[in-house]
Subunit: 133 residues, 2 copies
Amino acid sequence: MTETPKPTPSELKILKFLWQNGPSTVRDVHEGIGVQVGHSYTTTLKQMQIMRDKGLLARDDSQRAHVFQPTVGEEPTQRAMLDDFMQRVYEGSASQLVMQALGISRPASAAELEEIDRLVQRLREESRGGTGR
Amino acid sequence: MTETPKPTPSELKILKFLWQNGPSTVRDVHEGIGVQVGHSYTTTLKQMQIMRDKGLLARDDSQRAHVFQPTVGEEPTQRAMLDDFMQRVYEGSASQLVMQALGISRPASAAELEEIDRLVQRLREESRGGTGR
DNA sequence: CCCCAAATACGAAAGAGTTCGTCAATCGCG
DNA sequence: CGCGATTGACGAACTCTTTCGTATTTGGGG
């Protein structure tokens, strides 16, 4: 009964839009992300119908233009995808993934590094004394 | 001209075997990873032929049983996959990915956390003074 | 030398994901 | 009321991935 949705790349784009903009019509989503990549309206529509079939989206059809929203939260979805990715690529080793992620590009600002630092310190505290949950 | 191979899941399994075991025959790979998932020999063979067509593997056919090896290193491949994943799921934010990875499961041992800590400290030093490479 | 087992080549089929065209329903404006 | 534009339903085509069956080649033991 594990609810672990693993959206495809284009499904993820739509989910991201809905997470950010709240319940939206197909038109909204299409204008938001479909137009600039040159998709036709029906492409976006079909995609969202499929996602509804899969249970990724819920639909309110009380209006002529149906309103869609995700049935899954952003964070659980990211976690599930990350978990799968970590398993496939890093044999499940979070630390190896983290090390490589921190070496990549230059996105981590001072504030972000500080935040990461706090988290690491907290985890080290826990690992020192605690049972590890 | 960016060489960024993005292997599929089953391609990655084969690459992992070859990275770990060095140049191998189809038989080797099949015994190593194909058998226990119930694949037939030709499945492994075909997969490796395709990977060679894609340029992921090189082949030495001086022996009757051809010997394959990866044309790509493990780390660059992981980096490329991680970069893509980070882009798709976290809008390119390494710190967000790291935060979530550290929150996942309980894989980070004290030693690993310490190693991460050292890296974070080093990055903070650099970010304090440097241009960020 | 001949045959069998091992190996490779090749085509095909099934499944998933993505994109689009056509058709039907419906709402609102003139 | 009727027509045009908007919307939704649906099927189909195309690509990519994965899996396998069959055919062909080849090397070594009897």
